[in-house]
C-alpha cells in the first residue's frame, strides 16, 4: 500500500477504517459455511441424478456379465421401455438445463407450460411461476457470462411469469391475497435485485435491456404493494389492465383447437371466464409478446396508468384479447360458469 502521497488527515481516516473490523461472530460464520455446503450438496444431488440412458447402460452391462440370454431379454424389455417413455423422459430431462439459443429450450418451456396447466391451485401455479421466473433470470446470467446476448424470448417469458403471478393472486380474497402478494413481492424483489446486479456488470446494449427488465419488475413489485394496501383497487386494476381469464378457468382440460377471427375479437365478459387459448409455440423467439396463460394487454410494453382506467372499456368488461396473443399454457376449454 502506498499512502505516501495522501494527505495526512485522510491517511488517518483510511488507517482507522482499515483497523475497524468487528470480530466475526463464530456462530454466524459457522452457520454461513454450513448453509453454503448444504447448497453445494443440493447441486451435487441435482447433477448426479442418472439419466435413463446411463441406467440402461449399467443394467445392460451387468446382465451381459452374468448371462447372455438374460442380457438379450433385459435389453429387449429396456429398449421397449426406453422407446416408449425413455426417449421422451430423457429429452425432457436433458432440456432442463438448456438455454434459449439451444434446440431443447423449446422442450424446456413446453414442459413448464404443461406443469403450469396441470397445477390445480392458484398457490401452486404461483409457486411454479416463481420458479420459472428464477429460471429465466438464471438464463440471463448464464447467457451474459457466455455470450452477452439476451434473447427476447427469455425477457418476454419473465415478464409473462411475473404478470401472471399477480393476475392469479388478484382473484384471491382476504388472508390468501395478502399472503400471496407478500410472497410474490418478496420473490419479485429477489429477481429484481439479481437483474440490477447483472446490469451493473454488463456493458453496452445489455445494460439497456436489463434496465428495462428491472423497470418492469419494479412495476410488478409496486403493483403487489398496492394490492397489499388496497386489495379492491388492485383487483380492479388487474381486471382493467389485462384481458385475463380468471383463475377458475386455469384448469387442466382440452385446449380449444381453433380461434375464429370473430371469437378472438369478441370482448370477454369478466363474469363468464372464457379460455381462448391454444398451445403455444414456446421456445421460438418469434412468440415475443405472446401471453402465457393469460392474454396480454394490447398495449403491452405501455402499461395503462393504473389510476386511470381506459375510458373505452366499460368496468368489468375488459377489452378484446390481443389478436396476436397465444397463451403459454394450452389452457382448459371454455368455462361458462360465472365466478
Amino acid at each position: 500500500m502506498t499512502n505516501h502521497n495522501i494527505q495526512p488527515e485522510l491517511n488517518k481516516h483510511l488507517k482507522a477504517l482499515k483497523e475497524k473490523v468487528p470480530q466475526r461472530d463464530p456462530e454466524m460464520a459457522a452457520k454461513g459455511r454450513a448453509n453454503f455446503l448444504s447448497e453445494v450438496k443440493e447441486l451435487q444431488a441435482k447433477k448426479s441424478t442418472p439419466r435413463l440412458a446411463e441406467i440402461f447402460a449399467a443394467i445392460f452391462s451387468m446382465s451381459i456379465q452374468t448371462n447372455r440370454r438374460l442380457a438379450t431379454a433385459v435389453a429387449s424389455i429396456l429398449i421397449a421401455i426406453v422407446l416408449t417413455f425413455g426417449a421422451v423422459g430423457g429429452t425432457v430431462y436433458a432440456s432442463q438445463d438448456s438455454l434459449p439459443n439451444q434446440t431443447l429450450y423449446a422442450v424446456k418451456t413446453l414442459t413448464e407450460d404443461i406443469r403450469l396447466r396441470l397445477a390445480k391451485q392458484p398457490e401452486e401455479k404461483i409457486r411454479l411461476l416463481e420458479m420459472f421466473a428464477i429460471r429465466r433470470v438464471e438464463e440471463l446470467y448464464t447467457l451474459s457470462e457466455k455470450e452477452g446476448d439476451f434473447p427476447q424470448v427469455t425477457v418476454t417469458r419473465l415478464e409473462q411469469h411475473t404478470e401472471n403471478m399477480l393476475i392469479l393472486a388478484s382473484v384471491q380474497e382476504g388472508k390468501d391475497l395478502t399472503q400471496l402478494l407478500n410472497q410474490i413481492r418478496k420473490s419479485l424483489q429477489a429477481q429484481e435485485e439479481k437483474i440490477a446486479i447483472l446490469a451493473n456488470t454488463e456493458h453496452g446494449n445489455a445494460v439497456k435491456e436489463l434496465t428495462q427488465v428491472q423497470k418492469k419488475l419494479r412495476e410488478k413489485i409496486h403493483l403487489a404493494e398496492e394490492g397489499l394496501d388496497n386489495p379492491a383497487a388492485f383487483r380492479k386494476k388487474m381486471r382493467s389492465t389485462t384481458p385475463f381469464t380468471p383463475v377458475e378457468t386455469l384448469r387442466p382440460g382440452k385446449p380449444e383447437k381453433t380461434r375464429t377471427p370473430e371469437n378472438k375479437r369478441k370482448p370477454v365478459d369478466r363474469g363468464t371466464p372464457t379460455w381462448k387459448g391454444k398451445p403455444d409455440q414456446v421456445g421460438t423467439p418469434d412468440h415475443k409478446g405472446k401471453p402465457e396463460e393469460a392474454g396480454q394487454p394490447e398495449n403491452k410494453g405501455k402499461p395503462k396508468d393504473p389510476g386511470k382506467p381506459d375510458k373505452k372499456e366499460k368496468p368489468n368488461e375488459p377489452g378484446p384479447p390481443d389478436d396476436k396473443g397465444k397463451p403459454e399454457d394450452p389452457g382448459p376449454p371454455d368455462d361458462k360458469r360465472g365466478p
Partner: protein, 182 residues
C-alpha cells in the same frame, strides 16, 4: 494464479465439496471484513458473504464462474451486491451521531477518535461513485496491488491508477467540506 488455486478452482467446477469448503474458508473472512467496512453492519455483511458464495456456486453450476483470479471474481460479486444495496437505499448523511460516542466514554480517547474517523470515512465513501469506492477500498484498505485491482475491476492498471487518484481527490474534498461545515 498459483497452480494450487488453479487446481482448487478446477475441483470447484466439478462441485467438489472439499474444494468449495476450502475456498469458503480462504475467502469468507476477507469478504466479511470487506463488506462490514463498506456497510458497517455485521448482519448485513454476513448476508452479503452468503449471497456472494451462492452466486459463485450458481455460476459454477451453469458452467460459468471465474476462469482464473478467483479472489477478484468474489470481490467483484460482493462489490456489485453492496453497490446495488446502496442504489436502493440512499447513502446516510455525512454528519456523525456524536451522542452515540458519548455512551462509550469509558474507552480511551484515541480509540473513540479512530472509531469516529472510520465511520466518517465509511459515510464519505458512500458519496463516491461505485468504481471510486471500490478502488479506494481495495487499494488502501484491503491492500490489493494495482494489478489485483485491475483484475477485480476488469480494467487496465493505468485506468485503476487514475481512478484511484480521482477517488482520493474526491474523498478529500468530501471530508474537508464536511469539516468546514461543522
Amino acid at each position: 494464479m498459483s497452480s494450487k488455486e488453479k487446481n482448487l478452482l478446477q475441483r470447484a467446477r466439478k462441485l467438489d465439496s472439499e474444494a468449495l469448503g476450502m475456498i469458503y474458508d480462504t475467502y469468507s473472512d476477507k469478504l466479511y471484513a470487506y463488506a462490514v467496512r463498506r456497510v458497517g453492519n455485521a448482519q448485513q455483511a454476513e448476508d452479503f458473504v452468503a449471497e456472494t458464495f451462492s452466486r459463485f456456486l450458481q455460476a459454477l453450476k451453469s458452467g460459468g464462474g471465474p476462469k482464473d483470479h478467483l479472489q477478484a471474481y468474489l470481490y467483484r460479486i460482493a462489490h456489485n451486491l453492496i453497490t446495488d444495496h446502496y442504489r436502493r437505499e440512499p447513502p446516510p448523511p455525512l454528519e456523525l451521531d456524536e451522542d452515540r460516542y458519548s455512551e462509550d466514554l469509558g474507552q480511551p480517547a484515541d480509540i473513540l477518535t479512530k472509531q469516529m474517523k472510520a465511520e466518517r470515512l465509511q459515510k464519505a465513501l458512500q458519496h463516491l461513485t461505485p468504481g471510486q469506492q471500490q478502488v479506494i477500498m481495495l487499494k488502501y484498505i484491503e491492500g490489493f496491488s494495482n494489478q489485483e485491482i485491475a483484475e477485480t475491476m476488469e480494467k487496465s492498471s493505468g485506468a485503476v491508477r487514475s481512478q484511484a487518484h480521482r477517488a482520493l481527490a474526491s474523498l478529500e474534498r468530501i471530508l474537508v467540506g464536511e469539516e468546514d461545515e461543522s
